[in-house]
Subunit: 157 residues, 2 copies
């Protein structure tokens, strides 16, 4: 990330993706993959509802949109929400060098694990991101739990 | 897994998927998700080459094919190769209860981590699976390294 592209500016792209997902009736989580100089490589959002596809979390959708690449070491994954184990595993396996996270208050995924394994993790705790997910979870608890594989809490709704 | 569906029988489906991928010119890794009683829920294979999609590893393709589900606790993920961190993260996040692995000799992914976190892991070290990946890696080292995010070794080819 250069001086010209501070973390909060990169987050705007992910936030816009989350808002697109929300407008489509989906889960509002967005992500984008950037080169070190701030060039956008791919952007995407959660598509569980829209595509009936449980494998398309925001990060995987952005990763897919960036196409085939040989070296992710200098890339930056930006996501509106702390990445779950699935998406954290993606970051670790492909050696994505940095992760910028909108917020980790509504969901605490694997970003501590990533930091332990050398990924440069920035958590912004952006208030808009917190509010967006807080509102969504209150209104759609079963859908949210489905997206993170929490079966028992869904049963308790 | 019931007595009627031993691990090696379930592996046949994943192996068949890997062979399909190979016939398509792709990376020969296959997977399938089963219910506890042996019912097939979804099957798939690596689609990096065929779809130009780096997000579709065998396990994610099988997971996608199984569609939206609320509870994976009693499901079994069968894969021809030890799951990478990305696919191991998938198993952990969605609480897939068991993983049956064809082989872990050509690639040792995150299955020890999964076992530490309560997943029932079975590694068969099936000779056909070992041979299939050994042959593929010898013939396609750059493609293989790309699929697991190993950039430096690709450079060294």
């Amino acid at each position: 990330m250069t001086q010209a592209t501070p973390a909060r500016q990169l987050l705007e792209v992910a936030y816009d993706e989350a808002q697109r997902g929300l407008a489509e009736g989906g889960i509002p989580i967005g992500a984008a993959l950037f080169a070190a100089n701030g060039t956008l490589l791919g952007r995407g959002h959660n598509r569980r509802v829209q595509s009936g596809d449980p494998s398309m979390h925001a990060e995987t959708d952005a990763f897919r949109a960036a196409g085939r690449r040989r070296d992710y070491g200098s890339t930056i994954m930006v996501t509106t929400l702390s990445p779950c184990w699935y998406c954290s595993g993606l970051v670790r396996q492909f050696g994505i060098g940095a992760v910028i996270i909108g917020e980790s208050q509504t969901f605490h995924g694997g970003h501590d694990w990533l930091a332990e394994h050398g990924v440069a993790v920035t958590v912004l705790e952006d208030e808009r991101c917190v509010q967006m997910m807080t509102d969504f979870i209150v209104d759609n608890p079963a859908l949210w739990h489905e997206d993170i594989g929490v079966a028992t809490e869904v049963e308790a709704q």
